[in-house]
């Protein structure tokens, strides 16, 4: 699966978290979501494997499951919010 970032109205960072203006509301993104989002670009596709490796490098292994699984869950949420696009 590959990912790219989509345009949002605005994004601000505060420490390891961020807030995104998407649709008609502002959502606060967790540190992992922020890491994933800021690792992506609008004009470049990244593999989930590469992004998961970056998250693992930053945060270590998750308490349960793999980094890939954790990032996949984050990507689901970011896609639902309209912040990323993914293709198989």
């Amino acid at each position: 699966m590959k990912l790219r970032r989509l345009t949002c109205h605005d994004l601000v960072l505060d420490g390891d978290q961020s807030a995104a203006y998407v649709g008609d509301s502002v959502v606060v993104l967790s540190p992992i979501s922020t890491t994933v989002l800021t690792a992506l670009a609008e004009d470049r596709w990244e593999s989930v494997t590469d992004v998961a490796a970056l998250v693992e490098e930053t945060y270590g292994n998750p308490p349960e499951g793999s980094a890939f699984e954790a990032v996949s869950g984050v990507v689901d949420e970011l896609a639902r919010l309209g912040l990323v696009e993914r293709v198989d």
């Binding site: 601000v12 505060d14 807030a19 203006y21």
Partner: protein
């Protein structure tokens, strides 16, 4: 048709209320009385003002005709004044869309220094009550919309307060701040604090003012800002303001009358 004009400056925007019809003089006089703290002499810099046309007439057919033209029209003066306030506010904030951060907030100021605190919250959170209670001690800037420029300056909007009537009528009475003995605002207010209002019966007995995390506050405040979405980089602008004032705060309280010391500390930068 008779016409009387009432020139106002609302959030720094020149706006003329044009009263039409046989009762134009009476309507204009009532608007002047209620909006006395927003009266102005002439549009600044020769700019064209906005216009709000109003009419009071006992004939419902005539009122419908006027409403069809986009006028604020009613069969009684009380209804007209009740409906006029949101119309004036709406026109002004529409005009400022994309320029200023327009918080749904009341604002109180130190009359000497211009330091001002915004108390942000949805309808029913007590902004007008707070303005009425604390505006006798601190300068009354607005009880409804606080428009903040990029440099932190605050546009004046000392509108009439919309007060529930003892009769239980749904119509709120539009009362000039002078009639409530409120303190006039300073000429050049600027923001030194942004506070989320949290009024509830089970709040701590002593008012609790606390700093809150930036990003959740940004999300909460965004819901209380008009036309935020059409602003360029709105979250950068909002976080810039919040960082400049030492971060967002939340005030949990039961009764606004208890808040004089807290507001004084905020305006002095001691909170």
């Amino acid at each position: 048709m008779l016409r009387h004009e009432v020139p106002l400056r609302v959030l720094g925007v020149d706006l003329v209320v044009r009263a039409h019809g046989a009762q134009a003089y009476v309507v204009a006089a009532a608007v002047e009385r209620a909006w006395a703290w927003c009266l102005t002499q002439a549009p600044a810099d020769g700019r064209d003002p906005l216009y709000v046309d109003v009419l009071v007439d006992a004939e419902e057919e005539i009122v419908r005709w006027a409403a069809g033209r986009g006028w604020v029209a009613a069969t009684s003066l009380d209804v007209l004044l009740h409906n006029l306030s949101p119309s004036i506010t709406g026109r002004a904030i529409e005009h400022l869309a994309g320029q200023a951060l327009m918080f749904h907030a009341c604002a109180l100021a130190d009359s000497h220094t211009g330091a001002s605190a915004l108390f942000v919250g949805p309808s029913g959170m007590g902004k007008t009550t707070l303005s009425r209670q604390l505006g006798r001690v601190f300068g009354y800037v607005t009880d409804e919309t606080a428009a903040v420029e990029a440099d932190g300056s605050l546009r004046l909007f000392p509108k009439p307060l919309s007060l529930l009537q003892e009769s239980g009528s749904y119509l709120k009475k539009q009362v000039c701040p002078a009639e409530l003995d409120l303190v006039p605002p300073p000429a050049d207010p600027h923001v030194v604090a942004v506070v989320l209002l949290d009024r509830r019966p089970d709040a701590p007995e002593m008012p609790l003012l606390e700093t809150v995390d930036l990003l959740p506050a940004v999300a909460a405040l965004a819901e209380q800002i008009s036309y935020l979405k059409i602003m360029d980089r709105p979250l950068q602008r909002l976080t810039g303001l919040l960082r400049a004032v030492g971060g967002p705060r939340r005030l949990s309280y039961r009764d606004g009358a208890d808040l004089v010391p807290v507001v004084r500390q905020l305006l002095r930068g001691e909170a």
